[in-house]
Amino acid sequence: MKGRIISRGIAEGEALTTTHPISFYGGVDPETSEVVEKGHELQGKRIKDKILVFPNGKGSTVGSYTLYRLKKGGVAPAGIVNRECETVVAVGAIISEIPCVDEIDVSKIKTGDIVRIENGVVTIK
């Protein structure tokens, strides 16, 4: 699948997918990478080393710094695939150097799939 490059790079890993938008500020523990937002589909799951697949980001712009904190702590997702990336995730992915692609039909990717991102191209293995 070919999408739009938000943040350059190559990443490969196991997909963790959700149909819920993600708020990184307040919604993800910056130390453990666990999703802590109450009622979220991924609540209790860790996003470390995953190819994180979700429709779009939401919430405070401080979320960009949360992604950066995850990266520095060694618990960031390996890559991000969105249907429509917004500014919080875009800026977060760029400053953290996490490969990120959007304009992808995210419903085609299932949790557990091995997914590779190579610049704008997303491949399910």
Partner: protein
């Protein structure tokens, strides 16, 4: 997005790491929002200053940018998590102060003015009508767009910094005149008699119009302080950082009221108070200055506190910029307020200082202040300046 040769070189890293990273951010945002190009900005306001929100990773990010990053335009700073000089007086702990100072050092190294205020337009960062700027801090963004008529999107901390290092921002959203027309007519039939009524009005309009641009009629006059309070409230409870008030804000003469219409009456304002206020009598924290207090507001506070004493059970803060406090020092207002037992909280406010767990109930004139105080687990009372000062003196809301 079309880039000039110079911009291409910046993206390739010819001007160093900070400029390269900044260009990556601006180009990505430009592509997401289909901007055709970058445009020059007259000034930048950077949010994301409190160590409370940044953490160590945020500090590290700022330090990396500060290695070779220098701002290209006038750049001012949002409030920090503490008074940079008198933090002990506000009960801030040593470790927090040490980290907060490291954050400030990084910003200083970048050439940013350490103004630490959410009202940059009161202390020398005053854009002109129609000028393109790149500001974060939602209340200031709303004031700049609506009251001044400058043009800015609602930036986040990193994208505002990126604009400062490049001196440009992507040309989309509220930079384009075609996106600045009103969507909804709001007729205000309610009487507005005190400053907090403007916060309540912002609540009503923000909740109802959300992401639409309101064209407000029925308001005959408004002061700077009232508009400042309204801007903070309307974008806290809604999300659009632009509105028009017919006959008062610039550009309102260019448009007719849109067909879609909302009417706000006294009972809507009353309901806003009922939602914002908690059922509480004992008040142990009073803070005036969200957005940061103007010199006129400080004068009013001094006038109300003359020969009075703040209750021993209550902490009283005037949140303002350091520049405004210096004017207050000259006029003698500071002495009056401190003699009454009040404190100045320069460079910070109740929303970004680490106050969680220290107080039980706050009284303030600001609807935005109440919203963020609830995040800090405080009970809230919103009222006029007179009511808030009375609560500070008695330790009770009456």
């Amino acid at each position: 997005m079309n880039l000039t040769k110079t911009e291409e070189k910046m993206l390739d890293g010819e001007e160093g790491y900070a400029v390269k990273k900044s260009m990556e951010i601006l180009v990505a945002l430009g592509n997401i929002y289909c901007a055709e190009k970058l445009i020059e900005v007259g000034s930048v306001q950077v949010a994301g200053v409190s160590y409370h929100n940044l953490g160590d990773a945020g500090l590290e990010f700022l330090n990396e940018l500060a290695k070779d990053g220098k701002v290209k335009v006038l750049t001012t700073l949002n409030p920090a998590g503490m008074d940079l000089e008198d933090w002990r007086n506000l009960g801030i702990d040593e470790e927090f102060a040490r980290k907060q100072n490291l954050v400030i050092d990084a910003f200083r190294k970048m050439g940013i003015l350490i103004s630490c205020t959410c009202t940059p337009y009161l202390i020398g960062n005053l854009p002109l009508y129609g000028e393109h700027i790149a500001w974060s801090e939602s209340s200031a963004v709303t004031f700049a767009n609506s009251v001044i008529g400058a043009k800015t999107n609602r930036e986040g901390g990193p994208s505002a910094l990126a604009a400062a290092f490049v001196g440009k921002t992507p040309y989309y959203g509220l930079h384009l005149d075609e996106n600045r027309g009103p969507d909804t007519h709001v007729e205000v039939k309610a009487k507005l008699t005190k400053i907090s009524d403007w916060g309540a009005l912002g609540y009503c309009i923000g909740k109802q119009v959300q992401n639409k641009i309101a064209y407000i009629t029925g308001i005959k006059e408004a002061s700077l302080d009232e508009l400042k309070s309204f801007c903070a409230s309307v974008v806290t409870f809604g999300s659009k950082p632009l509105f028009y008030i017919r006959g008062i804000t610039p550009g309102s003469e260019k448009y007719q009221p849109p067909k879609e219409k909302i009417i706000l009456e006294d009972r809507d304002i009353r309901e806003a108070y009922e939602t914002i206020n908690d059922d509480v009598e004992d008040i142990d924290f009073v803070c005036i200055g969200c957005p940061h207090a103007s010199i006129k507001e400080i004068a009013q506070i001094a006038d109300l506190l003359e020969n009075k004493k703040i209750s021993p059970n209550t902490e009283f803060w005037v949140a303002t910029s350091r520049s405004m406090k210096q004017l207050a020092d000259i006029k003698g207002y500071t002495a009056v307020i401190e003699r009454a037992g009040g404190k100045f909280a320069c460079d910070t406010c109740m929303a970004v200082a680490p106050v969680k767990g220290r107080f039980r109930a706050i009284a303030t004139t600001s609807a935005k202040g109440c919203y963020y105080s609830r995040h800090n687990n405080l009970l809230t009372k919103m009222g006029s300046l007179e009511e808030c000062i009375d609560a500070a003196v008695k330790g009770k809301w009456s």
